[in-house]
Amino acid sequence: MFSQLILNSIIAGAIYTLVALGFNLIYGATKFFNLTHGVLAAVGGYSVFFFSKTLGWNIYFAVVLGIVFAGLIGYGLDKFVYLPLRRKKASNMILLVASLGAMTAIQAIIAILFTSQFRTLPLNTGTQRIYEIFGGVITETQLVILVVGIIIMATLALILKYSMFGKAIKAISDDEEVARIVGINTDKIIGYVFFIGSAIAGLAGILIGFDIGIQPTMGLGLLLKGVIASIIGGIGNVYGGVIGAFLLGFVENFGIWKISGEWKDAIAFVLLIIFLIFRPRGIMNKQ
């Protein structure tokens, strides 16, 4: 069932793309491994659960709210935790440990509010539309994930290349000190970057919720895959994150076609290490 294998890889890649896009954006600007990025996916998913199931609001409205809410939480984290740390010239390790604390706390809050039960977000009750492509099967939700991923990639790419905002982000990525000297309000821009990146993460969580389901602990695994995708694709590069994500999806699925599924995570990290050894700058980065 070769075509199904390819479709599975594409589906997995699409999910990783969303996580990688948000992570790549934030990492480019701040250069630290933000462990909370993953948990924001859970925040997005659970917000939609809350708005649509508990409050009974319209599902599309709930999705928009969920995305915005995830963005706000990310923005808040930056403002109250990461920014003060950056002002004190904290090292990346300090930020990493601080993000560990934040991740632990946020996960626990979600578990208290919603219990730890695995939940699904139904787009519509009953069975979904299924599309058959070359003998393989893909559901409507999965197609949506794919399309959304590409749209966001395109939008981000355009913003980063052509807008002042995007240029400011690039400047900060290259050298924050210099960007500040040149007059860019780095704190404010980074704040916006956190908002956008976190919102994308929230969207990832929401779509995963529709396709598979949500759980308070869903964040870390997603994050690691997003990080791998970003690195092998080329850290800080929007297209890179996407290519890396699809490559990861393919390698994982083709990998477990040959060896048992329990080794999936190990395969992902072996891929990472191979890239780190032979092409650390990733696929898309030239220098």
Binding site: M1, Q4, L5, N8, I11, A12, A108, A111, T115, S116, Q117, F118, R119, T120, G126, T127, Q128, I130, V137, T139, I212, G213, Q215, P216, T217, G221, N253, I256, W257, S260, G261, E262, K264, D265
Partner: protein, 374 residues
């Protein structure tokens, strides 16, 4: 070192000394015949938290229904996701500080194995609601469990499958939970021993929710039946993803948790026809009462192993109040009461090792309900 540092160290040292003093000299209220303390160790945080919540709710329910509600104090401690050292910390605290004479816990075999030696040394009863590991049989004379063994469940479904003429099987299993690995071993041994064949085995870990590629491999291997040893969430997802992929083969869950609501919630109509083992009492009244009771109080159906938790608590409470307070006496009472005891999770009879062997029936999901078929 600087003055600031010295101050900080000084404060920490003083705080630690105060804490130590408090812990040593704080009197723990002894268990009297009028009131009892029960310790609970479960993975309240981590991936298995939803099951811990269910068991804890069931324990609360049992406490309320026992008739001794005001005389029972439940002290719950977290083992942070079935981590053995944390389980030991929890047990040490419960036994030495809170002076509990009995502990309900833990969810997983590993954590229970870790606390068993301590329970033995300190003469404290440990009753596990869902730890199925084979090593627990001989882990100590004060260790009991209310859950049927992996072998009983697996053999029941393997035999059933064979008896229905199914000969070629796929075996999907979660390699990161000891109970599920055991079930995979037992299903394989039994089914092949009877004359069947396992054409393909696929594995995954609990946190992996995308089983499409594994299912894809199963699809190309033309089997009559798919055995699945996984947590209920994963079973639900597997069913849903399988049906979407066009895999319409019969699924058989080797664990009794296949018969819990999350499977239907997640899989929807794809859950129809799933076969699983279950332990029942002749009238099934205890089980239905428990479900209704739980739904009334908590608003949802209980999660897997909550029924075993309920029975563990109910039996333990009865035993403790009938005893003279010592662990040996409680132990004797447990054997006495836990004999043909009709519980929410089936008929419980402790054998001399504190294990139970529950007669299994086969059930299926039909029209969104759990129905017995054999």
């Amino acid at each position: 070192m600087s003055k600031n540092t010295k101050v900080i160290i000084g404060v920490i040292v003083v705080a630690v000394i105060i804490l130590i003093g408090y812990l040593i000299y704080k009197p723990g209220a002894p268990t009297t015949k009028e009131s009892i303390k029960i310790g609970v160790i479960l993975p309240f945080t981590g991936d298995l938290a939803s099951y811990a919540e269910g068991v804890r709710n069931a324990i609360n329910l049992a406490t309320e229904n026992s008739g001794y509600k005001d005389k029972i104090q439940i002290i719950a401690e977290d083992d942070h996701g079935c981590l053995p050292p944390d389980a030991i910390s929890a047990a040490q605290k419960l036994i030495n500080i809170d002076k509990t004479k009995a502990i309900i816990g833990s969810l997983c075999t590993g954590a229970t194995l870790a606390i068993a030696p301590i329970a033995e040394q300190n003469k404290v009863i440990v009753i596990a609601p869902s730890a199925t590991g084979k090593n627990l049989t001989n882990a100590g004379e004060y260790v009991f469990r209310t859950i049927a063994s992996d072998a009983d469940k697996s053999i029941a479904v393997a035999k059933y499958a064979y008896s229905k003429g199914l000969r070629k099987a796929a075996l999907l299993f979660d390699s990161s939970q000891d109970a599920l690995v055991s079930q995979r071993d037992d299903v394989k041994t039994t089914f092949t021993g009877l004359g069947g064949a396992i054409a393909i085995e696929e594995s995954f870990i609990s946190s992996d929710k995308d089983l499409r590629t594994q299912l894809n491999k199963v699809k190309s291997s033309d089997v009559d039946v798919i055995f699945i040893a996984a947590l209920p969430d994963t079973v639900g997802l597997a069913l849903k993803q399988a049906r979407t992929l066009g895999v319409n083969t019969q699924f058989i869950s080797s664990d009794t948790s296949g018969g819990t609501k999350p499977v239907i919630d997640i899989a929807g109509s794809s859950a129809e026809g799933l076969i699983f083992p279950f332990a029942i009492t002749p009238s099934n009244k205890e089980y239905t009462d428990f479900i209704n009771n739980y739904k009334e109080k908590y608003g949802t159906e209980p999660s897997a192993y909550a029924a075993e938790g309920y029975d563990a608590a109910a039996i333990l409470i009865k035993a403790m109040f009938a005893s003279n307070g010592t662990a040996d006496s409680i132990k004797d009472q447990l054997f006495k009461i836990g004999k043909d005891y009709y519980g929410a999770s089936g008929v419980i009879s402790f054998d001399q090792n504190g294990d139970v062997q529950k007669p299994m029936v086969i059930k299926t999901i039909k029209d969104g309900q759990f129905v017995e078929i054999q």
